[in-house]
Amino acid sequence: MKVGVVVFPGSNCDRDMFHVLTDVFHLDAQYYWHDKGLPENIDAVILPGGFSYGDRLRAGVIAAHSPVIKDVQKMSEKGIPILGVCNGFQILVESGLLPGVLLKNDSLNFMCEWTDLIVENNQTPFTNQFELNQKIPIPIANGEGKYFADDETLKSLQKNNQIVFRYSDVVNGSSNRIAGVCNEDGNVVGMMPHPERAVESEINPIDNKPSSLIFESLLEQMGVKN
């Protein structure tokens, strides 16, 4: 099974994600530079975190216009699992693949800290190994991480089961404490926290098992046994 890691100018978690996919979960991963297309035979796509285009104008907006996004769009229509982490989430939102928008944190500062997520939807390709309401200790690191959607959108997210993760505490002012959402079909997931920073016990001082389930869910989805 082949996972594409899309790299934009300014991405900086691409190598971390690649390491986790290949060295920890033994997946066949490949980098794809943003100005080229994605091949047909990819089984999953990940948009890693970082500062594409220096987060200028707004986080994710310039990358959302990259040529590769058209292919990501096509793959999303085909139902291929797509995960956007942090800046990747911001890009998915700015390109309209996911609803809502990410605004500056209420603190107005960049925030790097560990927090707890609650799994709200365990039906996506990235959460199928979780119990509902399971807790995930995980770090966030962002300046524009406050999820916002208007009331109507929030209602429909709730109704369609599109809220995937919530923060267990109020962290940055996100609407309904939302930390991650999916599209209506559930195959495109975006999340602000960084699972790739939490799957190895060496660097996860709390518990690396829950975060690992995000990747194990993907393996399960693709029918790969780890």
Binding site: P9, N12, R15, G50
Partner: protein, 721 residues
């Protein structure tokens, strides 16, 4: 700014004619204090710079250490004081950018940053607060954007930095030994300038750094562009992987003038270049401006024509500009042309070798009496005093600072900021530990012992993680060196550092001197900042949660050395008293014992005892573990002292060990075998931080309440006060 008149005469004698205007600019930049180290160079030689792990190569801007299995770690430290004092955001950010390019220029990937920040009194002074807040934002904006974690540092406030700022940044790199750039040049090689366009920003910056602020050149404002820097890093590392780089140097102080002349000089070649080939931001720049502009985010590369084609493809991919500005010659001349016209043609040896000064020094008069102690009114309420210290800007938690820095990116950070040193995992299964430390309050009272203390403290912090110190970076920040008394303090500090480095066999792998740090109200206190790198072969010390009934053991003696302590200065407003002195024998013994204990897994946690003394160190343990502790002061080993001195003395070489009861005996046997001074002084449990002396209660603070204020007080002060 230009050359002093005797320097001009010297230049004329050396080249046998009048210099051209361009030559004058080039030489003035290169002969500035910042680039030539003319006041300090002859003395810096005393530091031991070699060792079994040190790899040296001509033209490296950072230190290189062999960490085994074919891997190297690189490290460097820089400051950006003058620019940060007038534009803290941009100054601090471009400081980060500069030190990262030093790491990059050896061909290693930058993997971590450290920042040392010093400002005036933020409790009283709005300017200090503004400088602090914006310097932190600048570092956060730059480092985070690059995806290089800022994993440690320090923050300090002192009146001596009023209306000024010290912003020190250290960077660590990592890579394969075989990928190190070998800095060589061949016939037919070309010289390429890669990165951002050259503009007027930052013209005269290095001279500005060597001037006091009063005569500042306000055009020396540099606008950070971390996005371009990130592209440069990736492009250069890709070029390195493809072996396209013969030699490389970053552009820093002095711009092209220094980069070109120093590259030529260190490789023993000449370079002929044409300013019209430089990609500029503005169309009407004078050739001299192009030569001295300090525009950020640029690298100079020497390669051949064949590799150039591949380099261009990489630059195209990353959408960064690269211009061939010249070629290598073998006449040892720096030859600068403006189209067809020669505007400078001068021996690189002349440009890069300013005449070194041998400045006079004299022991400052104030030192004669500064160690005399004053009698203080007796203070009774030690709970109140300890709270006051814990919530003071120098001691309160720095989480507001490192919480704004991405310290996780790169997924190497094993021990995260917030305790002592931070620890990174390396690709060969080993771990790197690092910390920077400074203490101008101690250094003011005793420049020699103070500097040694900073060095020992940084070692101590690294040792607390189970690492053996393998290299040191020194950053020597002083006032005007032409002041004989200031120069004396510089020399004393340097001698102290040299003695310690020799005795402990810790080579100096890099450093920086920053002089002329003058504020409107005088010179800064001597401020050496020392970075120490430590290597852990097997497992790092990962603190385990402290629980009820764990024991507190102190290692090392507490002495009557409160000069420059937070207690004297913050509580009693007294500057003076005896400076803590490191006893080399005890220091070494204690380090060895701690490393042995960690290796034998006998402790749950180790914490160094420093600023604020024992009382603060114990409180930090309680607050970070949400557990109480009761300490009996009469058991503390060392000199027999009154209560306040036991609580707040800042004697060096002391460690706090947290031990489970059933491991005490084993621990004791090792400490006794090593003949180290130690005592079991307390027990964890309950919910208060309490100290007693001969059964008389002295301090009682609730852990949760204290912790809340300790965590938030810096943020409150900066954001809301």
């Amino acid at each position: 700014m230009s050359l002093e008149s005797q320097e001009l005469d010297e230049l004329k004698t050396k080249i046998g004619r009048d210099p051209t205007s361009t030559e004058l600019q080039i030489v003035a930049a290169e002969w500035s204090e910042h680039c030539s180290y003319k006041s300090s160079k002859r003395h810096l030689k005393m530091l031991p710079m070699t060792g079994p792990l040190v790899i040296t190569e001509k033209g490296y801007d950072s230190g290189v250490l062999d960490v085994g299995d074919g891997y190297v770690v690189t490290a460097h430290i820089e400051s950006h004081n003058h620019p940060s004092a007038v534009e803290p955001f941009g100054g601090a950010a471009t400081g980060v950018g500069g030190v990262i390019r030093d790491i990059l220029s050896t061909g290693t990937r930058p993997i971590a940053l450290f920042d040392g920040l010093r400002f005036g009194n933020i409790e009283k002074d709005k300017q200090a607060k503004w400088l602090f807040k914006n310097a932190v934002s600048g570092i956060s904006a730059y480092g985070n954007c690059l995806g290089i974690p800022t994993i440690g540092g320090e923050v300090e406030f002192d009146e001596c930095y009023k209306n000024y700022a010290l912003v020190d940044v250290a960077a660590v790199g990592f890579g394969k030994k075989e990928n190190l750039i070998k800095n060589h040049a061949q016939k037919g090689d070309v010289v390429v300038l890669l990165g951002g366009a050259t503009g007027r920003d930052g013209i005269g910056g290095s001279q500005f750094a060597s001037d006091s602020l009063e005569s500042e050149d306000r055009s020396a404002i540099q606008i950070p562009d971390p996005f371009i820097e990130k592209l440069i890093i990736e492009a250069i590392l890709e070029a390195r992987n493809q072996k396209l780089i013969h030699a490389m140097k970053d552009l820093g102080g002095g711009g092209l003038s220094c980069a070109v002349s120093e590259t030529a000089d260190s490789l023993g070649i000449g370079i002929e270049m044409d300013v019209t080939k430089v990609h500029t931001r503005e169309s009407d720049m004078h050739p001299d401006e192009i030569m001295v502009s300090e525009s950020q985010e640029r690298m100079l590369i020497v390669t051949n024509l064949e590799k150039l084609e591949k380099l261009k493809i990489i630059c195209e991919k990353f959408n960064i500009q690269c211009s061939v500005i010249g070629h290598v010659t073998f006449d040892n001349l720096m030859h600068v042309k403006n189209g067809e016209d020669t505007i400078a043609k001068i021996s690189t040896d002349v440009v890069t070798n300013a005449t070194l000064l041998d400045l006079p020094s004299k022991k400052p008069a104030y030192l004669e009496t500064i160690e005399d102690e004053k009698e203080f009114p007796l203070l009774e309420n030690y709970s109140e005093i300890l709270s006051k210290l814990l919530f003071s800007p120098n001691i309160s938690s720095k989480i507001w600072v490192y919480g704004q820095y991405d310290h996780e990116v790169g997924i190497r950070t094993v021990v995260k900021p917030g305790v002592d040193a931070s620890v990174l995992r390396l690709d060969n299964g080993k771990f790197l530990s690092a910390k920077i430390d400074g203490n101008p309050k101690h250094c003011y009272i005793n420049p020699r012992e103070g500097a040694i203390g900073c060095f020992e403290e940084a070692c101590r912090n690294v040792v607390c993680t189970g690492a053996k110190p393998i290299g040191m970076l020194d950053h020597l920040q002083f006032g005007n060196p032409k002041d004989t008394e200031i120069f004396w303090t510089f020399l004393e500090s340097l001698k102290g550092l040299t003695d310690f480095a020799n005795d402990f066999e810790i080579p100096c792998v890099g450093g920086k001197v920053s002089l002329y740090n003058e504020t409107p109200s005088g010179s800064i206190k001597p401020t050496p900042v020392i970075g120490v790198l430590g290597l852990i072969d097997k497992t790092p010390m990962i603190s385990q949660k402290i629980s009820e009934n764990d024991c507190l053991v102190i290692l090392g003696d507490t002495k009557n050395e409160l000069g420059g302590s937070e207690y004297f200065e913050y509580i009693h407003k007294f500057i003076g008293g005896k400076c803590p002195v490191v006893n080399f024998v005890d220091s070494k013994k204690n380090m060895k014992s701690v490393l042995e204990i960690i290796q034998d897994k006998l402790v749950k946690s180790v914490h160094d005892c420093s600023k604020g003394g024992l009382a603060v160190a114990v409180s930090e343990l309680c607050m970070t573990n949400n557990v109480g502790c009761s300490v009996s002061l009469e058991k503390v080993p060392g000199e027999s002292l009154p209560t306040d001195k036991i609580l707040f003395s800042e004697s060096h070489s002391r460690y706090l060990l947290i031990v489970e009861k059933n491991k005490l005996e084993h621990l004791k046997s090792i400490l006794e075998k090593n003949n180290t001074s130690f005592e079991i002084i307390g027990n964890f449990g309950g919910n208060s931080i309490s100290f007693s002396n001969n059964s008389k209660p002295v301090i009682d603070l609730l852990v949760d309440k204290t912790q809340k204020v300790w965590l938030s007080s810096l943020e409150e002060l900066v954001m809301h006060a």
